[in-house]
Symmetry: C2
């Protein structure tokens, strides 16, 4: 078997993490493969200012990615640039040039993964994207190979480390959202513009990819109902805990008789489920298969080294396939549409609900709210009120028996005109079936 | 791509589980593969008494496995017989006949995996064994591909569902070991002869296989220090909980500067670690990689369907490789011995320790025990005594600062002559670094 040569595009966090693993762990990698995986060239706009690992001191440095995709001595291009601009051009040019591609790009693959896979298959090259979701967790490998014999019926994930860090800090310390966010920004855990993380957009791209892999469908971010964590406050954790639950930004994809329900939103989950044990910046994915294979995968969601491991492991697999002459012949998105996996509106789902209100206290509040719920034929499960000092901004919680999201929204709409509410009610589904 | 034909040897739990998945999920499997995976023949001693899924009504039934391994129309033999007798002959005959093999056999592969892999590579056929350890968890796939770029430094597992069920029942209900075991036997969770489960032998085979995969070495069950759970009592959970820990039968393989430490034994683990959240008959594996990829995998350890998913997923991968003409060329056990992965005696490990005593109460007991510990230069961390009624069989606990297992054993030896002990002290390591 011959050596396989890699060109690395992008020397940011992920690129430098992957490079350092390829340098330090090169001998073990060669032992595992039975041949060497060489780094032939690296590319970045400021490539000459970069410090490379000693082992790669003499590697070709280029600042134009075309010098990777057109190089005759490169077998695999690793696209570690990110985004949907240059990254897309790099991936497309590499495929057109007959080179295999390893990418860490969740946005690009969530948006256009199906089309890119089709091109790769037409060109007879190999494509791999383990690093694009939940860097430290080899969830692509698991879905593609490990449990490929099963039929996935549900997939739940905690896929955004920043949000999970913020939520678990609110829970642990009782500090308001805004303060925890500010601290996370100070510590570098959250970006100056935190929207992609806290509004669920990053998690949405990741769920689009995982759901596509799990259900073999073309699922794009636009198919996914998405709600962020800005409204979650310490009092919500107090009530959730009282109910035996905690709150996480849950990415959910599950099959029903009617179709596929997809959402990214804060939800209550029972404290005794393993998903509730995911603390801080960790990621996790929980998969339910029809044949009893409930499995759970947990690890770092990001970071140069965890994501670098995903990139290097993909490079190894693709290199092995190049040496054995076996391109992928079936796209992971290529199932025939079986109907059962058509996304349907989230309003069709039925769940138990947590409704948290903040009110100016006066008699008749519960009666007014209960009246509206009764009108909409929604069954109230319990009313909870923890001791509170503020009569002018009094929180309390109503939980509902399993009810369709459509009915809950109608009831909430009706409630919006009630003048005793100091803010709109917060409605969170209770994911009790985990 | 052509259809690939499978012969199934063994129609017990695993064989019938795999068959039912192949029958019910056949269309989706064909979509994923791009070709069909056919069951051509099934073999069992009482094959004519078996009820097969409707889809396989016309499949050839044979009672002599030689009719599988010699059949020209079979590409893959699935060895689901178990044990090291006929199973070994089936695997060897299949390889000799140039057929690929999928096996669920932990004993055989733990004992002779390295040699069997060598034969498979010489013969140019494919071999897969996902179902051999932790049926529902695709941990082979993860180690072989998902995180292959990392260098594993430690692997901790809960690999025996029966033991974990018994331990978590003792913890939850405060019932003594013997009563929980009897109930587990009544419910069919434990066998009439429970030794393989509760004495750690089953877990030991599984750890041998996982450690071999993780470290690329020939590791056999005899390399692994093994102790069962018979001595764990409800009082141990009370003390462990008081110390912020729980107790699990922990399978551990970790690298040190001196070599590889391997053990299967009950150990204290902090309640806040994710490994502690593994309840009942579930299995879990926790992997630490040098490049920051701490990851955790959790699922059912056994059962026809979870194990069947592993078998079917292996069949799919091997079938894909047959169609792409790519045999495995490197054994997962085939790393050059790098020295760092040589097993070393467990006595060389250093751990904090939990020592539980039962004594006839009288003055001077702590002084006598502390004196022996001081003689052996072992530093005592704390002495704990929960309220107890029995002065003639009084439990209490001493915890030790990190100490070599050799020193602890010397101290325990010295203590064995103390006439106030009503039974030998129980020593459990505290795995605080999880």
């Amino acid at each position: 078997m011959r050596d396989v040569n890699v060109g690395i595009a992008g020397l940011g966090n992920v690129g430098s993490g992957a490079l350092s693993i390829l340098a330090e762990n090169g001998d073990q990698i060669a032992h595992k493969l039975g041949f060497r995986l060489n780094v032939t060239a690296v590319c970045s706009r400021s490539v000459h200012d970069k410090t490379l690992p000693e082992a790669f001191r003499h590697v070709r440095r280029v600042s134009d990615w075309r010098e990777l995709t057109s190089a005759p001595d490169i077998d695999i291009v690793a696209e570690l640039v990110g985004g949907t601009g240059a990254a897309r051009e790099i991936v497309e040019a590499a495929i057109a040039a007959g080179k295999s591609v390893v990418t860490a790009n969740k946005e690009l693959m969530a948006l256009d993964g199906a089309a890119i896979w089709e091109r790769a298959i037409q060109a007879g090259i190999n494509l791999a994207m383990e690093a694009s979701v939940a860097g430290g967790i080899p969830i692509h490998t698991v879905l593609r190979e490990g449990i490929s014999g099963d039929r996935v019926t549900a997939l739940y994930g905690i896929l955004n480390g920043t949000s999970n860090f913020i939520l678990t800090e609110i829970e642990k310390r009782g500090t308001p959202f805004a303060d925890v966010l500010a601290e996370a920004q100070r510590l570098g855990y959250a970006e100056a513009d935190p929207s992609a993380d806290i509004d669920g957009l990053d998690a949405r791209s990741k769920l689009a990819l995982l759901a596509a892999l799990a259900f073999g469908e073309k699922i794009t971010p636009a198919d996914i109902f998405t709600e962020g964590i800005r409204r979650i406050s310490p009092v919500d954790f107090q009530y959730a805990n009282k109910l035996g639950h905690t709150i996480r930004l849950v990415c959910a994809a599950r099959t029903t008789r009617e179709g596929l329900l997809l959402s990214v939103r804060p939800a209550l989950i029972p404290v005794e489920t393993i998903l509730a044990s995911v603390q801080g910046a960790y990621n996790a994915v929980w998969v339910r298969g029809q044949y009893g294979a409930d499995t759970f995968y947990y690890g770092r969601g990001a970071g140069p080294h965890p994501t670098g491991v995903a990139v290097v492991s993909d490079l190894m697999r693709v290199a092995r396939e190049i040496n054995s002459g076996s391109p992928h012949r079936v796209s992971p998105f290529a199932h025939a549409r079986l109907g059962e996996y058509q996304p349907i509106p989230i309003t069709q789902q039925t769940r138990a609900w947590y409704l948290r209100f903040r009110v100016k206290d006066r008699p008749g509040i519960i009666a007014a709210l209960a009246g509206i719920l009764a009108d909409k034929r929604v069954s109230l499960d319990a009313v909870l009120q923890l001791p509170s000092e503020s009569k002018n901004d009094l929180p309390f919680v109503i939980t509902l028996e399993p009810t369709s999201e459509a009915s809950v929204r109608e009831a909430l709409d009706k409630m919006s005109s009630l003048e005793f509410l100091t803010e709109p009610p917060l409605a969170l589904p209770m994911e009790t079936a985990l």
